[in-house]
């Protein structure tokens, strides 16, 4: 583990008074390796190491902990600092229905997370409704409809799918009619470089009052997490992130890349395929997971 490796590096530090530029270089190199193995983007790793170095230099080597423990604490604290507070605060302000839109790459877990969010909100005594804006993927509508039925949440039914903007507008009427106070929009998976589909999201954002736009990111994603998060944020202005499939063994460095480039909070994590597998994001847990 990183702690063991740093233990080796800092064996030589015993008896020295301070953490200095020279004795920290090797330690930083070990952290660099750990973060890159965790899929944190190289650019984000470089910036992160600079900040850790600044924080660590000149610190007194404490006698109550080993230098490795002290250094790891600096690294972990800085990670937690970047990853942000635990909050699953969602904005429900304005005239109902509040609208939460899920966006992201193909297969990241949007449809499943949409249903999980609906269950989460129902348990918080809100009245959620689910809307399928994915008119492309075979059986996308059936998938969300089945999930809605599993959790007894109203699902906006329509016959011939027109375009997502049309469906979205009609779902607002549906919400009023059936007493839904929070609509969750499931959108089609799309590439951040598909301008036509990014414009489709822009049109939704510009024509419907949307309270939350959450980017759903597969925690196993690699270096591209940075570019994907940045592009989605530029095109559609995100309000939060959901990191999925954390029940696996991916280190999830994408959390650091996506959070640092967008500045928006990680609001939830997906930890399984069942609809109750949605948790509030805990930065400390994520930090130790990333460090390995």
């Amino acid at each position: 583990t990183l702690t063991d490796k740093l233990g080796q590096v800092f064996k030589k530090l015993r008896g020295h008074g301070r953490i200095t530029e020279s004795n920290i270089t090797e330690a930083l190199r070990e952290v660099r390796i750990a973060l890159l193995e965790a899929d944190v983007h190289l650019k984000v790793v470089k910036e992160f190491l600079e900040r850790v170095k600044e924080k660590a230099l000149g610190q007194e080597v404490l006698t109550s902990v080993t230098p490795a423990q002290q250094f790891i604490k600096i690294v972990a604290d800085e990670l937690v600092n970047v990853l942000g507070s635990y909050t699953s605060e969602l904005d429900f302000s304005g005239k109902p229905p509040a609208v939460i839109m899920l966006v992201g790459l193909q297969g990241s877990g949007k449809t499943t997370q949409a249903a999980k969010l609906a269950l989460f909100l129902r348990n918080k005594k809100r009245k959620p409704g689910l809307v399928c804006l994915d008119i492309y993927r075979p059986a996308a509508y059936d998938q969300l409809k089945k999930l809605s039925a599993q959790i007894s949440v109203p699902f906006f039914e329509y016959e011939k799918p027109k375009d997502p903007l049309n469906i979205a507008k009609e779902s607002l009427i549906f919400a009023d009619k059936v007493g839904v106070d929070t609509l969750i929009f499931d959108t089609a998976g799309r590439l951040h470089i598909d301008q036509e589909l990014m414009d489709e999201l822009k049109a939704l954002r510009n024509n419907i009052k949307i309270n939350e736009v959450l980017l759903v990111v597969d925690s196993m994603i690699g270096q591209e997490a940075l570019n994907v998060a940045e592009k989605f944020n530029q095109e559609v202005k995100l309000t939060g992130l959901i990191l999925t499939k954390l029940d696996g063994d991916a280190r999830g460095g994408a959390a650091l890349s996506a959070k640092s480039v967008t500045g928006v909070p990680i609001k939830f994590i997906g930890v399984g395929e069942k609809l109750n597998a949605l948790e509030v994001f805990h930065p400390h847990r994520m930090a130790s997971r990333i460090l390995g």
Partner: protein, 274 residues
């Protein structure tokens, strides 16, 4: 990287950046760079060609085509973690075989995920191929067995079995896949002729864990890497293929039925520079 013509430390660093940000991984990148340093390139243009040659050389032994005529029916089982593109790739594979005048059957053995059967049914209908399915939550091994019996009874050529996505860390789900294999082996020890592991090009180093576990548990015999139409380069494939020695048959380059290409080592290597 090739703005300047002289190879200096800045160029080596840019090369490392290129490899790491392409998900090649830190260890594999450093091995590739070590090998390139030994070769004394005279300028950056030949260094670039050297890198493409190096990666091509690593991957070419594993760039193979499926020998689907070696058995009848030829049985393919498709596996992988959640959301990587198994079901869509099966549709593309079916088209590949249909275009070669093969009679194809699809086995809807993902009996777990909401509307998984409906999703495959739509593809079957679009392709004009038969699909064998049971109710949602039926035993996947039973569906696999049924689809094999159906394919044999009809004397069709290729059976492609879809399975539910599953994380390799879930041992009970890996057991489920082993059971599907055992049930097929009851009919013939040849079966399945291919166990295709689907890897998603956008994923990072976790693909190595996926490939290791899927190979160890159920012996993946080939790889298809999807979503190479995005910006991800799929660099982790180099480590996966060379350490596990599994062939790569195809790459997925889009969401449509024709978006399947035969894997080409050199194009993949050149893709790192796009």
């Amino acid at each position: 990287i090739l703005g300047k013509s002289v190879i200096d430390d800045v160029v080596w660093e840019e090369l490392e950046t290129l490899l790491i940000t392409s998900d090649v991984g830190i260890e594999t990148s450093s091995t590739i760079i070590k090998n390139l340093r030994k070769q004394n390139f005279k300028d950056t243009a030949s260094l670039k060609k050297g890198l493409i040659d190096e990666i091509t050389k690593l991957l070419v032994p594993y760039s193979q085509t499926i020998d689907f005529n070696r058995n009848k029916p030829f049985v393919i089982m498709v596996v992988g973690v959640n959301g990587v593109g198994k079901t869509t790739t099966i549709a593309k594979l079916a088209k590949y075989f249909v275009d070669k005048n093969k009679k194809v059957v699809l086995g809807a053995a993902d009996t777990f995920r909401a509307a998984a059967i409906e999703q495959l049914e739509i593809w079957a209908k679009r392709l004009g191929v038969d699909i064998v399915k049971q109710k949602e939550n039926a035993d996947p091994a039973a569906v696999a067995y049924d689809s094999l019996q159906y394919t044999k009874a009809k004397d069709y050529d290729v059976l492609i079995i879809d399975t539910a996505g599953r994380l390799h860390t879930k041992s009970n789900l890996m057991e489920e896949l082993k059971k599907i294999k055992r049930v097929l082996q009851k009919v013939s020890m040849d079966y399945p002729d291919e166990t295709l592991l689907i890897l998603d090009a956008t994923l990072g180093q976790n693909s190595i864990n996926q490939a290791k576990v899927f190979t160890e548990s159920i012996n993946a015999t080939g790889i298809i890497m999807t979503k190479l139409d995005g910006t991800a380069k799929g660099g982790v494939l180099i480590n996966v293929v060379t350490s596990l020695r599994i062939p790569v048959y195809f790459v997925g380059v889009g969401e449509g039925i024709d978006d399947l290409e035969i894997f080409d080592a050199r194009s993949f290597a050149e893709g790192l520079f796009e």
